[in-house]
């Protein structure tokens, strides 16, 4: 409270009385109670569950196993394979999202005819729910009648329909593509907002100094975009690590284990095996990794945010 009091004092512009503090606490209390019930309690309770060998289908025996669930997960080669897949999915998708979103933002930052229409069209993938997005891509990728095969065939790029999601070489790339398609609009908006905040006189001064387009991009635009990039990187990294919907709809972790990522493993443990203890432990590991990554990204880019 002692740390908060000066801030409160600055905010209300006069000394803070005990009455003010009590009032503030009173007004905050309902929300604190709700947050405790819907957020804090489930978080703590799920950690408690992760310390038990709890399976819903074995209701009469749920021994307390300390950190055994965590130990088993770390000893499981399947877990480390799925970590590898989640990592490559995250790296591929976040890099692609940032690159494509930057190009789109640069384009939409220019004045040209139809810019508003293009901006509106750009938002469509963002507006589509993830499940609908997954089902749409499932149709597009279908090896028998999919639109992608049809397009490639019509263009003469293939002489017969290819196996798409069933081909382990293509599976993760295709899922990444669907994820990128859905996420690019939001990233574009974030970068566009950052671009709009760059002062025009910087470009004018650079032109006067003889800087060409490339030099202006490298020395003015890119550095100015850093806060936007940081935001996009944090948000999309968290989204990619935790992403589940497309893996569920498109491949269910297959073929074989080609798309068995950590988020899929959490689902399998929790809802297929109904092993809530292991599922909670896995979810905790995933949450800790996500927060750790976010922490380091924020720390390394905090000065630019």
């Amino acid at each position: 409270m002692s740390n908060r009091t000066p801030a409160l004092r600055r905010l209300i512009g006069r000394p803070v009385s005990a009455y003010d503090q009590k009032s503030a606490m009173l007004f905050l209390a309902p929300m604190m109670v709700i947050l405790t019930v819907v957020a804090v309690f489930p978080i703590l309770y799920s950690f408690w569950i992760s310390l038990f060998d709890l399976k819903l289908t074995r209701p009469h025996r749920a021994p307390f196993v300390w950190l055994d669930n965590y130990a088993h997960i770390f000893q499981d080669s399947m877990f480390w394979d799925s970590v590898g897949r989640s990592t490559s999915f995250t790296l591929m998708s976040v890099s692609a999202i940032m690159f494509i979103a930057m190009l789109m933002a640069l384009l939409l930052n220019e004045e040209f005819r139809g810019r508003r229409i293009l901006s509106a069209i750009l938002l469509i993938p963002w507006a589509i729910p993830y499940v609908a997005n997954g089902l749409m891509w499932k149709w597009i990728y279908d090896s028998g009648y999919g639109a992608l095969n049809g397009l490639l065939f019509q263009l003469g790029l293939i002489d017969k329909y290819m196996v798409m999601l069933g081909d382990v070489q293509k599976t993760m790339l295709l899922i990444t593509n669907s994820f990128v398609w859905k996420e690019v609009p939001l990233a574009t908006i974030l970068l566009l907002v950052t671009l709009k905040s760059i002062r025009a006189d910087l470009y004018s001064a650079a032109k006067v100094d003889g800087a060409n387009v490339w030099q202006r991009f490298v020395h003015i635009t890119l550095p100015a975009l850093t806060p936007g990039f940081a935001l996009v990187m944090i948000y999309e990294t968290m989204m990619a690590i935790r992403h589940f919907d497309l893996f569920f709809i498109l491949t269910e972790g297959g073929p074989a284990d080609a798309s068995h990522v950590v988020a899929w493993q959490v689902y399998v443990e929790t809802f297929r095996k109904l092993a809530f203890g292991t599922g909670a432990a896995l979810a905790y590991i995933m949450a800790i990794v996500t927060f750790t990554l976010a922490f380091f990204i924020i720390r390394s880019t905090s000065r630019k945010l």
């Binding site: 819903l56 289908t57 074995r58 209701p59 009469h60 279908d142 090896s143 028998g144 017969k160 196996v163 798409m164 999601l165 069933g166 081909d167 382990v168 491949t251 269910e252 972790g253 297959g254 073929p255 074989a256 284990d257 080609a258 068995h260 399998v268 809802f271 297929r272 095996k273 109904l274």
Partner: protein
């Protein structure tokens, strides 16, 4: 206690009385003996909902027993039910898949029905495999909802075009005929076998393994799937060769589920298919199939040293332990189970309704002789073949408490072999290892 009608009663007294009356009215203060008046709770997955409702209406009218009916989608049914069991939600009668029986029975959620002679008497009129599919550790847990099996279909017209007179009776013959059809340019991938990771996969795999004369486990429940002479290795090797060597099955089979397989076959892309028997109705329906009228059922091709065996499955009406704990509720629940799984007014009415509405199979032998059923089936298939193949149907030999966990590993292992990431022997060794580990743990 003060009387609220007397002049001196307070507002607090009035509120107390009102609250008590409300609680009593809601049944919370009802005595245990009054439980008989409470309606039964019946839960199913979302199939044949209108048929169920109509049959339920007849039950209520006939018996005066009220029933609360609810359903959940098949994909979420197991999770939903397990959550309800754990949360002690009111449940009396429900649909159960044979795959979940050991899990639910061992957890104490389902009650055996052996003590109800009115239910047990129907076993005499049912196919053995279907009755066995409802039994666990010597006890029976319900009566049939529907039963069916994995069937082998062929497109007669495509075979004729390729100059083939008879459908294959062995898997080797199927390869030869497929190569002929492929060479004639009639179909690029003559055989359709769905191998996507879904709940249907184990049915396809088991049918292949049984027809190769083996099984996943032996009579004691030990894993035999990695034994090269026990069917599974031969079956998987056949699939691997069919995909990669002969190229008669599309490599996209690992992303093709049962429903997409049905669509692909009914679009005329293939000459042969493994599908659920009841799909024949769709396949020969001109509104739903481009090869309507040409699809025939044949006996499951046999592997070397194998037979025409196939896998059958059972979905049945079970009684919960909760219902069984109360004599009156148990008796009412048994009546409801009999109404649906046995005879209603002296006839297997519900099974006939289901057959006529959606073409689903039945375990009752006498229905094969029913003129109405025969006439209905003759419109799109051959009743004699339906019955003949059903006699070769066997229940799955992997239905255990650890089935769900093993199924994850097994499905992945078979797919690994098909896409060339492992050999058939390695894949089945992994599957057997997982089975043995889980068995030891449980």
């Amino acid at each position: 206690m003060s009387n609220i009608w007397t002049e001196g009663s307070s507002r607090r007294d009035f509120l107390k009385m009102t609250a008590t009356a409300g609680v009593a009215g809601s049944g919370l203060l009802a005595l245990p003996g009054h439980a008989q008046a409470a309606p039964l709770n019946f839960y199913t997955w979302s199939a044949a909902v209108d048929t169920v409702k109509s049959h339920l209406g007849a039950f209520e009218a006939k018996t005066g027993i009220k029933v609360n009916y609810n359903n959940a989608p098949w994909a979420q049914y197991r999770d939903t039910m397990v959550t309800k069991f754990v949360g002690k939600a009111p449940l009396d009668v429900l649909w159960v898949s044979d795959s979940w029986l050991p899990e639910w029975a061992d957890a104490g959620w389902l009650a055996p029905v052996n003590n109800f002679p009115d239910l047990m008497k129907y076993n005499a009129e049912a196919d053995d495999f279907s009755t066995q599919s409802m039994q666990y550790k010597g006890k029976q847990y319900g009566l049939s909802y529907y039963t069916d099996y994995m069937a082998f279909f062929y497109d007669e017209e495509k075979l004729k075009k390729a100059g083939i007179k008879e459908p294959p009776s062995t898997w080797d013959e199927l390869v030869q005929q497929s190569l002929k059809i492929k060479a004639a340019g009639i179909s690029e991938y003559p055989m359709m076998l769905p191998m996507a990771r879904e709940s249907w996969l184990i049915e396809f795999l088991t049918a292949m393994v049984y027809s190769n004369g083996g099984g996943f486990t032996d009579a004691s429940g030990a894993a035999i799937m990695s034994d090269p002479k026990k069917g599974a290795v031969q079956a998987l090797q056949w699939i691997v060769d069919a995909v990669n060597k002969h190229k008669i099955i599309s490599p996209a089979c690992v992303e093709t589920g049962e429903l997409n397989g049905l669509k692909s076959f009914s679009s005329g892309n293939h000459a042969f298919a493994l599908l659920s028997r009841y799909r024949i109705r769709t396949l020969n329906d001109p509104k739903q199939s481009q090869i309507a009228g040409h699809v025939k059922q044949a006996l499951m091709p046999a592997g070397v040293g194998g037979s025409h065996a196939t896998v059958g499955w059972m979905r049945f009406h079970g009684m919960t332990a909760q219902a069984a704990a109360d004599k009156t509720r148990a008796a009412n629940a048994a009546k409801l189970i009999e109404w649906f799984g046995g005879k209603a007014d002296g006839q297997y009415r519900f099974q006939k309704m289901l057959f006529n509405d959606i073409g689903s199979g039945f375990a009752v032998k006498e229905l094969f002789k029913d003129p109405e059923v025969q006439a209905s089936y003759a419109k799109y298939s051959d009743m004699a073949m339906f019955e003949k193949q059903q006699q070769f149907a066997r229940k799955k030999d992997v239905i255990t408490r650890w089935f769900g966990e093993w199924d994850e590993v097994n499905g992945s292992a078979w797919q690994s072999a098909v896409i060339g990431k492992s050999t058939a022997a390695e894949a089945l060794k992994k599957s057997a290892q997982a089975w043995n580990d889980l068995r030891k743990q449980v």
